[in-house]
Amino acid sequence: MAETKYDVVIVGSGASGGMAAYVLARKGIKCLMLDAGPAPDLTRDRTLKAVYDLPYRGFRKPGILPHVLQANAFNSNVWADETQNPYTYDGDDQFNWVRVRLVGGKSLFWARMSFRLSDYEFKARDHDGYGENWPISYSDLAPYYDKVEPIFRVAGRKEGWKQLPDGVFLEDNSPDSVCVQQFKTAANQAGIPVTKMRRATGQGMLASSFNLLLPDALASGNLTLVSNAVAREVTVDKNTGLANGVNFIDRHSRREIHASGRAVVLGASCLESTRLLLNSGLANSSGALGHYLFDQFYITRTVDAIMPAACGGKANRHLIGGGGYCPRFRNLDTKAKNFIRGYALDFGSGGTPDPAVIPEYGAALESKLDYYRGAGFSVTTMGEVLPRFENFVTIDRNTSDAWGIPALHFSARYSDNEFNMAADAVSTLNEVCHNAGFEVLAKHDKMFPPGYSIHELGTCRMGDDPKTSVLNKWNQSHDVKNLFVVDGSSFVTGGSQNPTMTILSLSMRASEYLAESLRKGDL
C-alpha cells in the first residue's frame, strides 16, 4: 500500500495534541495522530474494588514508580512504567517526571483546576525586570480562553481581578461555610483575595481530550488515530529543510514505521516534545532547546489546622466544608523583601487532620481523631518557579527506553527565590489561620522535588528573537517553518496558575494559524 501523506501529523493525544486535532480535523484538514500508549476503555479497564482485595491492601506495589508520589493502590497501572521509560538526573537533584502513556494522556487524570494567566505572567519582565516577556499578551490569548472554557465547562466565580482574569464560567454561587467565611475574612484583612475554585466540570467530571476533543475530531472523518505508536524522530526533507513526517515504533512489535505529513505538530507533553526534538537534532539554532525548564513548586498541607468550633462532633455542612483558591497576591502593587513573583493557595475544610501530625498514639490518638473529625482545615501552596537557563534537560546517551530511544537527563533545582517564597507562604498562612480562629496543628515549608506538580513547563520556549527562543509567537519553530510545538514546553513563564487552560488555548490559537497557513499554501 502506498504511504499516505497526511496534511498534518500530530504527536500526542492529551490536552494540547487533542486540541490541535479538534481544530484541524474539523476544518477539513487530514490529520494523523500518534500516541505512545494504548487507548483505554473506561468501562473495561476500570472496576470497583475493595481496597482489602488489592494485592497490597492499600499500599502500592513496593518499589515501583519511585518518582510518582501520586500513585496509589488503585491507580498504579495508569502511570508510565519507569523501567520501560527511564530518565536520569544529576546526583541528588531529584526530578519527579510523572507521565501517562495512554490515549488522552494526563488529561484523563488532571485535577481540572482551570485558570487564565494574566499580563503579570505574559509581560513579567516588564513588571519586575527578570527573564523574558512572552511574545504575546493576555489580549492575544483571551479570545481563545473564551472558546476553550465552554468546551471544558469551567465553573467559577467572577471577581474582576487583574492577576486572575475571569473566564466564561458556569457561575458558582454556592454559599460558603462559616469556616470558609472566617478564613476569607482573615485572608482579606491580610490583603489576600479568596474565591471559589475554578474547575473544569467536563462531562460526568471527566474533562479530557478523550471525551471532549477527540470524539469530535474523529467524527469529522479527518482524523486517523494510531495508538501504541512511540515517536522516535521528526524527519526532514533534506532538500527543503522542512519536516516531512515522523518515524515511530510500534509499541508491541517494535517495528519502525514512517508517517508522512505536510506539517508536524508536537503535543506529546512538555518534555516528551523536547526530547523528540533533541533526538531529532532539530529546531535548536538558538541553543535554547531544553533550557529554561520550570514548573510550580507544591507544598501540600503547608498548614494543617482545625476549626475549634467544629470539634467534638459539632461539624456540619453549614459550619464547615468546602474550599477555595487564593490567587497570587505578592509583588503586584508592592514588593516582597526577598523574592519576586508569587504563589497561590488552595484550601479545603471539613476533613480530619492527618494522624501523622498528632503527637499521640494508641487510644489517646483515636480519641483525638474522634474529637477532630470533620473539623480539619488544610492549605496547599503552589508557587511560581523562575525560568532559568541553568535548569535544563538534555539527552542521556547512555540510557534508552524500552524501544531504544535515548532518554532525558535532568539538571534542575529550585533557587533561593522559591525557598524564600515558601517561607513567606508558611508564615503568612500561620498568621491568617490564627486570625481566623483556627488552631494550627502543624506547618512546614518543605516543597516536593521539582516535577511533583506535573506542571513542567518551558524547554522549547516561544519568543520574537530566534537567537534566544525556539518557537515564534504562533508556537511555530523559528528553524523549521512547518513544525509546531503546542504543549507546555512553549511557555516563557508559568505563574502559579495551573497551566492546562493556557496550554489548550495556545494549542487552539496555533492550530487555527496552521490551518490558515495550510489553506493559503504558506507552508
Binding site: 470497583l48 475493595a50 482489602y52 492499600g58 499500599f59 518499589g63 488503585f74 497501572n77 498514639y361 483515636e366
Partner: protein, 200 residues
C-alpha cells in the same frame, strides 16, 4: 458473596435434573450450549476465605515486637477492630519482605532497637514490657511533628510504623466489615485501574 454462592449452587443443582425432564417430554435435544452460556464460577480471595498469611520475613523476636507494637499503636477502640484484629503484623511481614532494601532495613533495625532498648532498660524483650515501660520507649511518638524525618533511628522507625500500621488496619477487610457505609459506596471500595494493554 453468599448470594453468588447460592446462585452457583442453584445452577449446579439444576443440571442433573434437566435430562430427566427432557426425557419425560420426549422433545428433540436442544442445541449444545455455547461458550457464552457457561456460568462464571464463584471464587474468592484468600483473605475472604479466612486464610492466614504465613510470616517469613521477620525473625521470631522481631515479629513478636511488631505484634506488640501494633497492639499499642492501634488497639481496638469503641468496637472497631484494631491492628491485631486486622492481622496487620502478618501483612506487614509480607509487605516489608517484598519492599526495597532500605525499607526492610528500617523495619529490621527498628524492631531490633525496640528489643535492645527494652533489654537494656528492663531486662526483658519489648513484648514482655508492661504499659508504663512501653510508654517510655514509645516517647518519640509524643514529640511534635516535623516535616523532616527524625534523625534518631528508633524515632524514625516509629513514625513510619505508625503510618503503615494505620494504613494496613484501615484498609483491612475487618475494618470494612465493622463500619457502616457513610457514603454511596461501601467503605473501602474504590475505582481500580486494571493494567491496560501491557507489553508482553
Amino acid at each position: 458473596m453468599p448470594l453468588q454462592r447460592r446462585k452457583f449452587l442453584q445452577v449446579a443443582a439444576a443440571v442433573p435434573a434437566a435430562p430427566a425432564l427432557l426425557a419425560q417430554q420426549s422433545a428433540p435435544a436442544p442445541p449444545a450450549p455455547s461458550a457464552a452460556d457457561v456460568q462464571t464460577l464463584a471464587t474468592t480471595t484468600p483473605d475472604a476465605a479466612a486464610c492466614t498469611t504465613v510470616p517469613g520475613f521477620f525473625t521470631d523476636p522481631q515479629l513478636a515486637a511488631l505484634r506488640r507494637l501494633c497492639d499499642l499503636l492501634l488497639p481496638s477502640v469503641n468496637g472497631l477492630p484494631g491492628a491485631l484484629d486486622a492481622k496487620v503484623p502478618e501483612f506487614l511481614d509480607f509487605l516489608i519482605g517484598v519492599s526495597p532494601a532500605p525499607r526492610q532495613q528500617l523495619y529490621r533495625q527498628g524492631l531490633d532497637l525496640l528489643n535492645a532498648i527494652s533489654s537494656e532498660r528492663f531486662a526483658k524483650l519489648f513484648v514482655a514490657l508492661d504499659p508504663s515501660q512501653t510508654d517510655q520507649i514509645l516517647g518519640p511518638l509524643r514529640a511534635p511533628w516535623t516535616y523532616d524525618p527524625p534523625s534518631d533511628p528508633l524515632a524514625n522507625f516509629l513514625r513510619e510504623a505508625k503510618a503503615d500500621i494505620r494504613t494496613a488496619t484501615e484498609s483491612s477487610r475487618e475494618r470494612a466489615d465493622s463500619a457502616p457505609s457513610g457514603g454511596r459506596r461501601p467503605r473501602g471500595i474504590g475505582l481500580y485501574w486494571l493494567p491496560i494493554d501491557p507489553l508482553v
